[in-house]
Amino acid sequence: MLGRSKGDTGPAFHIPRAWQAPMESSLKVLLVDESPIRAAIIEDGLREGGFSHVVRLSSTDMLVRRINEIDPDVVLIDLANPQRDSLEQMFQVSRLVRRPITMFVDESDADQTRAAVEAGVSAYIVNGLHKDRVKNIVDMCVTRFHVFARLAEELAETKTALADRKTIDRAKALLMKTRAIGEEEAYAMMRRAAMNQKARLGDIARAIITASEIC
């Protein structure tokens, strides 16, 4: 059985039992992702599922050249990567000369295909592998792409909040100085202005600072 890592945070990272068969470790998964952080999150998920052969490539490599050396069983690529067309050409050529390749995305998996496209990931099966086995990989990817998107969103919000906090403090100090009022009163003044104008407190604070710079 696989242990769950310390940082694991619950049901979002549930690992289907089907993955835990020992044979999974022999599959080689190629992961092409623009975002090194997201790639790390996915790779972590693959390893937890028992896929120890994970190769990561960045987008600027010429995939066609590298893919023959790597010889993967499954390829996962994020949709932001413009090289999907190159990858598909490689598959088409190999299909003719080398070995069977199935695209995971097809009509029989409409729901999962939709989920994958909406999450921003695409999967290709290279070795004529049974689709059910790869389905779990794709499910995990979809979940983790969403987790990553949520984390990125939270990070952006935190950054904005932090920036706002600094701006609000500066504006408050300005008001206290120019109007000779206390901290609480200055803050209340800005909040009233924000409510009246249906604006964010951070925007009011920025306006106060801009006004003071002009005057």
Partner: protein
């Protein structure tokens, strides 16, 4: 007005009719609201059509057929009721390769035929010395670019499947791959040849329309069972695009159009470069004269948008390139994909 139509495109000059339809009011005049989505690969456009994220998309004409058949990819039944443009491609060779041309006393900028024959001589000379095969790139396996490049090679006397290696690379990476010696030349659409020439990385040796005239290039593609094939909206969209194409083809609108197209959420490319490709006055290298062809890229003309005429040529190219073997069956499928019914209903 119903929910906006979501239409995907790649940042290429021939997305002009889609951009013009939205930014210059042709869609609105037909009662349509359109949200344009810039994307990064043809595979993405195809998949987003398949899952219903897009109602229609800018698409390589041959790919609309290949996707509908499921050749080399997941099967995604599409309709391509509107041909957006003819031509617009070019073949660029790397600066490094110019030394090989100089060595055999050939100037590839003389004309495209000289370049094609010269390239064959360069390849033969390399074969004689045991040098590695040249690698040439196109933007997609199922594209006019692939078929034009194959024709260019054959005219010169080369076997496209044996004498060179043909690969696919994304246009924004072409120049970088050329710099790194990974590819020696490419056949791409506008404005990518011009950008490579401007950066001094390659020379434009052939315009697509010189290698073969009036080649079907991009279509508007839509899911066979989508919102646009079901009701009157599709016809309205085609009428709007027909109007937009007339606007795009008129030089009087060029300044406004290229300004709109240059925006970061559209092509994100200098307006001057787009204007050059639209005008058909192409710089071949950084120093020398332009080559000028009025039909370098064509957006308007009698019957130009009717897609049915392009089916036989595309099927023939797919056979020649070894992409399909069932000519008759493919032709039958192509007649459905490129059916003219919507275009005729739109008065095109």
């Amino acid at each position: 007005m119903s929910a906006p139509l979501n239409i995907g495109f790649l940042p290429l000059t021939d997305a002009a009719p889609l951009i013009a339809a939205v930014d210059f009011g042709f869609a609105q005049a037909e009662g349509l609201a359109i949200t344009l989505h810039r994307d990064v690969s043809w595979a993405n456009l195809r998949d987003r059509l398949m899952v219903g994220q897009y109602d229609a998309a800018h698409m390589l004409a041959p790919l609309a057929l290949a996707a509908s058949l499921g050749v080399g990819q997941a099967k995604c039944p599409l309709r391509a009721p509107f041909l957006l443009n003819l031509n617009g491609n070019g073949i660029t060779l790397s600066k490094r390769l110019l030394e090989d041309f100089a060595a055999i006393g050939c100037d590839p900028l003389t004309d495209w035929m000289t370049a094609a024959r010269g390239l064959a001589d360069v390849v033969r000379a390399r074969q004689a010395t045991g040098a590695s095969r040249l690698t040439l790139a196109t933007v997609h396996l199922f594209s006019a670019h692939t078929y034009l490049l194959r024709r260019f090679l054959r005219v010169g006397g080369l076997d496209p499947d044996g004498d060179v290696e043909l690969v696919v690379a994304p246009p924004p990476f072409m120049v970088d791959f050329m710099d790194r010696g990974l590819i020696d030349g490419f056949c791409v659409g506008s404005p990518w040849n011009s950008l490579a020439v401007d950066r001094g990385r390659g020379v434009l040796v052939a315009l697509g329309c010189e290698v073969l005239a009036d080649v079907p290039e991009k279509v508007l593609a839509m899911p066979a069972q989508g919102r646009l094939t079901r009701d009157g909206e599709g016809v309205a969209l085609l009428r709007a695009l027909g109007q937009a194409c007339v606007f795009v083809a008129d030089p009087a609108n060029r300044a406004d159009l290229t300004q709109a197209m240059s925006r970061p959420d559209r092509l994100d490319c200098p307006a001057e470069v787009i204007a050059r490709t639209l005008s058909g006055r192409l710089a071949l290298d950084q120093h020398r004269a332009l080559r000028e062809r009025a039909d370098f890229i064509r957006f308007a003309g009698p019957g130009l948008h009717r897609p049915d005429g392009c089916a036989p040529w595309i099927v023939e190219q797919m056979v020649e390139a070894g992409q399909i073997s069932d000519r008759a069956g493919t032709l039958e499928a192509a007649e459905t994909v490129f059916a003219a019914d919507l275009a005729l209903a739109a008065g095109l």
